[in-house]
Symmetry: D2
Subunit: 438 residues, 4 copies
């Protein structure tokens, strides 16, 4: 985990004190249920809460015990016994370490999901605002990096909004995948513990019950979770890449906010670089890199082996913390993005009207030309316009078509001129916005 790409809210989920607190709650709730079932004395359950309910656990002490026992849950239980006293022997009755560890991880990942969803919501809000602001900011659409046909920047942002709506849905589903509780004992048979304990703890911790655990909660759930994060990270990368492209010196249709006092380069004082979106591109790679180890974690041996544990100690915090940070960084970039509609307009005209080539093609076919012939007519004129130096006159293609005898036999000059009315391209902007924003 890289501290500079971390927000305190998400880091707090993963710190030792939080973990021990969740462990305690699982044990204490289980004790309540065990007391209710008469397996342990009711006073014991009460004592556990009374003595340790507000405790700050001594992380260093727990670490010291673990150094001897080489077992983290036993170390915690030993420390808890120091706090609770003799009744501590009724803690963890019939449970196994994974009951605590896996249920705790479910709680942590659930909370992390909530933060991630809130992060997506901030991105969605920013995208919605800027999309409406620039609903009619015309800019050239580009396929293959080459000018294609016009669109508006609002439409582009609406598309990203739709993508982040999907991101949100994926995170909601991912949370459901991992928000399960297992208190099923050493091999998942409830041999020493009643399934009602599991139901009680699940309800208290905001989880559903894992239908079949072995000793552990099955890791296909976690694999699905980290894959969902990887997809969201990739969507971040797509938006970051869009902005990086827009900020290229030759394009410059938008720029990341550059704060007073900021310096773009140690060597070149003139630099203003899209460093935040480049950073997001890198963070996307990092978050994605959790997917494969999570998938490799699925095939644990028999009722479980512990190979997944070190992986999750890494990717659990890292992927959630960096994705959380990335979402907020992205939201900030979008919120403060400097957008230059006049540059969009200037870029649109660079190609001398080539962006209407399809409209001419279609008009020619409608006028009776075969698709093949129409294509050749337009392509020949278009290639001639390409060969002009940039920026080309805005009417370069129009002028050539008007002078083309083959074209003239099929289309009148007035008809040709109407094909270069750009407003045609924006007729469905409202439709698209309605699809996205309702």
């Amino acid at each position: 985990m890289i501290p500079r790409y971390a927000r305190p809210e998400m880091m707090a989920i993963w710190d030792a004190q939080t973990r021990f607190r969740i462990w305690f709650e699982i044990e204490a709730h289980a004790a309540d249920a065990l007391a209710e079932l008469g397996v342990i004395p009711a006073e014991a359950a009460r004592t556990i809460w009374d003595k340790a309910g507000d405790a700050v656990f001594d992380v260093a002490r727990i670490d010291a015990i673990e150094a001897e026992t080489r077992h983290d849950v036993i170390a915690f239980l030993t420390h808890l016994a120091e706090i609770v006293g003799p009744e501590a022997r009724f803690v963890h009755q019939g449970m196994t370490s994974s009951d605590v560890l896996d249920t705790c991880l479910a709680v942590q990942l659930s909370r992390a999901s909530d933060l991630l969803i809130a992060g997506v919501d901030r991105v969605l809000a920013a995208l919605a605002t800027r999309a409406h602001e620039h609903k009619h900011s015309v800019r050239i659409g580009r396929s293959h990096g080459i000018h294609a046909e016009p669109t508006t920047f609002g439409v582009s942002l609406a598309g990203f909004h739709a993508e982040f709506q999907r991101a949100r849905a994926r995170l909601v589903a991912a949370k459901a995948e991992i928000a399960t509780c297992a208190i099923s004992g050493a091999v998942g048979t409830f041999a020493q513990i009643d399934p009602r304990v599991e139901a009680h703890v699940a309800a208290k911790m905001g989880l559903s019950v894992e239908p079949v655990s072995t000793q552990v909660i099955p890791r296909d759930r976690h694999a699905a979770f980290f894959c969902a994060l990887a997809v969201v990270a990739s969507s971040i990368e797509r938006l970051a890449t869009e902005i990086r492209h827009m900020q290229r010196t030759e394009v410059l249709e938008a720029e990341e906010y550059f704060s007073p006092g900021q310096k773009g380069s140690s060597a070149m004082p003139h630099k203003r670089n899209p460093v935040l979106t480049e950073n997001l591109t890198g963070l996307a790679r990092l978050v994605r890199s959790a997917a494969i180890p999570a998938l490799e974690n699925v095939a644990l041996w028999h009722e479980r082996d512990i190979s997944h544990s070190s992986v999750e100690r890494g990717i659990g915090p890292d992927a959630t913390i960096h994705l959380d940070f990335a979402l907020h960084r992205l939201a900030g970039v979008v919120e403060k993005l400097l957008i230059y509609p006049e540059r969009m307009k200037a870029n649109l005209d660079l190609l001398g009207g080539l962006h209407n080539s399809q409209r001419v093609l279609l008009a020619l076919t409608q006028a009776g030309a075969s698709r093949e012939d129409a294509y050749k007519m337009v392509q020949a004129n278009a290639m001639a316009v390409w060969s002009l130096p940039s920026p080309r006159p805005a009417t370069a293609l129009l002028d050539r078509l008007l002078a083309d005898s083959q074209v003239s036999t099929l289309l009148s000059p007035d008809h040709i001129r109407t094909l270069f009315d750009d407003s045609h391209h924006f007729a469905q902007v409202d439709t698209i916005f309605a699809r996205v924003f309702g």
Copy 2:
């Protein structure tokens, strides 16, 4: 794509003729909608269906045209024009290649999803049958590869059943992710084509409408799809690994069916190897390897670049074909698995009753010992039993405990004996089955 790991049903989805047939249907349905809207003549739309509705497309001819135009959709349209005649100029009006390509891919992946779901259903059926057959086949649960406590093989299979129920749900969700239709033109603005055409084609092809396409359907959908396949593949790997472990010579609780005439090794005539499940392990790696390139495909430039195309030409068929094959191979393995309950019983006893150590621990705490002290008492006796040569006498731990003066002060001999009644471990088998099978 490796032909030996492919079923014809899935391969058919990806062959050239199927692809051209889907392309044709998209174009012909679009023509119907365009005719309905009055954009093209109704006769033209009819002629397209009449002339080419039953055509077998000439793949070699299309390839030859593509060699010149370097564009696959144009090559197809040119060939289609050869079949349809002059009305062909009304085909593809206002559409762009990706409208055809991406909608076709959506159809192919949808159909592939259906086959995959059917494959999972076969696995589920096989697991259900064998789980009920072996609901009470006692075997030792193993954590870390080391004997833990008893379970039944039916419970293990029920756990896999629950996992493949999740696999099914993931595939259903994955299908929904990619089953969208885009007929939105060169940059997704519907500049030359009415959105009602898209709605019509979507309905006819069994897809929903893509809310915002750029030129392409956004690739976060496909990334989510291939990640879902990767998770399913990992679940296959887990079950395959379980069977491989069970077949180890020293364990031998189950064996893949070994057919008459089969040979296990070119060198060693005695060999019977779990080659099918090992193969599934490898196939899982292959299917998983599609996840990263699918994720890398998300961040296309601007309205699209075509870098995703070669990736999808590879992983589209490969991941679906191999996962489909793997599901059926897995189902076959489970259906025919040779299961040896008597060996399960023999293995259970190898450790001289150590699998009841927890029960003794709990009884001691219930009898007043601290968890720490109880642990030490049981561990000391258990370690002594470990040090006996294998197989240990079935009552090795019981005998030692009965002779342990510290234990005796807390537990009566009869009480100790009841702790070694294994039936206790299976009290919740019905509960677990009810959770899984309803």
Copy 3:
């Protein structure tokens, strides 16, 4: 494997006939060595060569036998016995299938390496030619996509040349990693076969001897091999990305060759897209995707399991075929790349001389300003130039500096003017070329 991204030379390495031919040679050479050692009759060894030395193997027949035996090597040996007759019983004496399979794979990967190295050599030749052609074609260097300082396109290509020199060295090393022969029997102990057989076969097949095989050649070698391919693929992606950026409409400093008859879009006749380099970007993702499954193949169980086999049936051909194709496609792109030095010059001037900001900064510090103060002076002027509409006057920064009273106190007008002499930037071009081309 995607046929459209495959060259026949590389495909031939992976076809069934080639594989059986290599299997035969391994067996026949082994028989020679066994005869020399007196283990089998000399006539037997001769007969094997005489009867099958020129045989075309009947792939369908071998497949049919495998359908029964479920073992590919046994199927081949059975077919070979049909050709060779009774002496066939002396074939494969003391060998195990992996001796044949793994040594064959080593031969195939070695041959594939040779083709890949030849592909890199073609790329190197193309880069060298174009680098020298454009050694002095000035263009702006860009960091973060933003103009930085000038360089020449030749220098850029020289950098890629250096990278592909490393690619070549990696492939040479990768070949050495996998070019080993194992003829060591069922568990690598040479229990039934003399190590001298292995030495003989290795020498004949152009391989070195594997120091310790288990039943198989250890898979860390193959993992290293596929990782090397992944790195080379990533270098291809970097060069492809460079060209895609250069071809962007707003930049247009270079273009992929666009052939007569080529069509860029089914919808928009004006399009000329960098489809080859976009395709290379995708192919790079595909080749890279072999790395993880190859790494997952390393930890085979004990003396071997066969999980690696299906993986290698996929990634073996796929990664080598697609990388081979990609190298030749890349070489073709570089060889025919349309390069526009005048556009490079035009782009260089877009920022009104900001690319000399560092030179002014350094001159100010040399003249006594602190780095901090100098930075602020230059940055203030640079930001003012940024705010001008593009394209900015070529002397925009120079003019402002000449008018800046703070700057004037430290630098004379003439001194300032010399800082805008671009030739300074190219003083070390020869040095760089000498480093790369010797």
Copy 4:
């Protein structure tokens, strides 16, 4: 980075103070070279060393400056100027941040490589010791997890030794890949800095000169580095997996050392689990996960973008620290591994002599049977032995063969008996050891 899987020596390489120290040395050595060239005053260079040569940098102060400038190197230089005074304006003359950052990373990765190589050396030493100890500890070789033919545990360890020799060579090569120095200015043209400065700094920092840097050292080098680490991690996983298999309750041929006071399970006091090797399996997944983002880092835009930076802030420390830890953990496991030759012997006999099936097969072919017929004869008897309950009588196969009339016509009873002399399997153990240990 997970602190519990980290050794202080490796962590120290990555702490802030070390990084700033290396930055300082690069700047100070560069200043020496600049002074030698007359670019800056000799006193300035001396002052830099005098004032800051022994400085402990104030990390919090640097962080505070970075919070404003948003640039880490500028923040450091500003702090350095606070220490050095006015002469600080001669620091960083003509350099760019990446000159410092990338050269520093090269130093860090070089030092990390040295530690990793030392870790491999410890593993090699442990393997050599245990291999010689158990050179003649007979155990069954297993393919597919099924008994194959005998080998010795020493031979197995020798194979791992050979693999870690390759691991060592890969790390040496990986170090050479990344141990380069770039001091080439903003776009790698040495526009404001003489190449001799680079040569001087390289020599002082123990690096070679990067032939062509852009602004950065090309990232194919780092991709190759992290791929090499991934391969080494996979070799660790293979050895860890071997030990995990050996420790399985049913196999129990070896066990991780279990310390007094250690507890294997919070629930089951009898447990002794191979937790260290399971942990190594997980760590291998983590280290491997650095490979893909490192590969994705290669295709930076033009002269550089900064997307690689966040990735490397993660994987740089994480992959090196965890691999370093894993190597030492592995070495410790091997050094203290409890090895049970008597269990190896007992397991060998489980299959009633089936491990000599190949020897019988070969003898039959030598006696005139076709390979096909011989195979059938042995297979029939072998399958009958398989069907006996385990453990089978040690002479089960021998007895059946002696009683087989078909076999008897080809082989005498005495001949058959010699085929069951296991010593034959170990004839080449010395050869194998000589190959590995010289």
